[in-house]
Amino acid sequence: MEYIEIDGEYFVIHEDETDPNGEPLFVPITQEEYEANT
């Protein structure tokens, strides 16, 4: 589980959960959650 900021938006990337193309899931989170985990 990786926390990342992209252009002012915050996401968790889940390597263990994939989309229909097999790519890791990018889930938006709050800035507060991002800052608490990075």
Binding site: I6, E17, P20, E23, V27, P28
Partner: protein, 310 residues
């Protein structure tokens, strides 16, 4: 105000209010629940009863046809039944997933948005250096999922610059973060990490000709989290949004070239790391996705939470 039913059932979800008496189209989500007060219509609700659901995604089976030029309302009604071991309510992202006319998932990586430019020299499959008019808007991020090379071919009915959509793209890490060079005179080079794939749609010379549109694909929010990521109260609560038009969207607006959508929920996502006991359990009912006359004509909560879904 008139309600456009679209079908004989309320809205376009098939079995969105458990009209069939089972979890058809939502198999795998959990079960159904028939306790009085825990359903809205048809004596049954969709029951997320998996005590180990901590953030896992669920996508409904039904592909719902969409005309993105029209206005739709999306609404899900939710209620926490049992709190988690540490008194958390149910929670998680609610929304939908976009698919094109071939029922292929539409990823943000496939959409025209960043670094849109043209080839200044013809490119052939296998080439590792590509010449474009302007790569100043291309990502130099260290994250591989921001560095994807897109090509919008000439002559393809679906993948085109005009449609803002292509599946002709490299994978993540299509070019290195130091692979962009301003050559001056209105030309840049892009060094690919692998040879340009052969997607077809080259010209008679087996090339993508000068002027072919290319762009920088980038990952972002995977699905359309149209209804946000709420914590579900222990009383019935309805989340609603209007959906119309297209863009590079992970919200209520449809993605470019969307022709179908499917239901989506990330189950108990907000408390996914709290795993010392059972996760929260919740019900969903009266799933609604239907055309409305305008964004000012949304159906009221009094209807969306009623027992009148058929």
């Amino acid at each position: 105000m008139s309600l456009i039913y679209n079908r004989r059932t309320t809205g376009l979800f098939e079995n969105g209010a458990m009209q069939k008496g089972d979890d058809t189209n939502f198999s795998g989500f959990g079960s159904t629940r028939t306790v009085s007060g825990d359903y809205l219509s048809n004596g049954r609700s969709l029951y997320m009863n998996n005590v180990n659901a901590r953030g896992s995604g669920f996508i409904g089976a039904q592909y719902i046809p969409v005309d993105t030029s029209k206005v739709y309302q999306l609404a899900y009604s939710v209620k926490t039944i049992t709190q988690s071991y540490n008194s958390r309510n149910g929670s998680g992202h609610l929304g939908y997933v976009c698919y094109d006319e071939n029922k292929s998932f539409i990823d943000l990586r496939s959409l025209r948005h960043y670094g849109f430019t043209t080839l200044t020299r013809a490119a052939s499959p296998g080439d590792t250096t590509i010449y474009v008019a302007d790569a100043s808007g291309w990502s130099t991020s260290t994250s591989s999922h921001q560095r994807i090379f897109q090509l919008f071919p000439t002559g393809h009915s679906l993948y085109s610059a005009a449609n803002y959509y292509t599946q002709f793209k490299t994978g993540n890490n299509g070019y290195p973060s130091n692979g962009l060079t301003d050559l001056g005179g209105g030309e840049w080079s892009i060094t690919l990490n692998s040879g340009l794939p052969d997607w077809g749609y080259t010209d008679a010379n087996g090339e993508y000709p000068i002027g072919t549109n290319v762009g920088n694909g980038r990952a972002g929010g995977t699905y359309n989290y149209a209804l946000g990521a709420p914590v579900y109260p222990q009383t019935w609560t309805t989340y609603s949004a209007t959906c119309t038009g297209t863009g590079r969207s992970s919200g209520a607006q449809f993605r470019y070239m969307t022709k179908f959508i499917r239901f989506m929920n990330l189950r108990n996502y907000n408390y996914r790391t709290e795993n010392a006991g059972n996760a929260a359990l919740y019900v969903i009912d009266n799933l609604f996705f239907g055309e409305i006359p305008s964004t000012s004509d949304t159906l009221p909560t009094s209807f969306l939470q009623s027992d009148r879904f058929r």
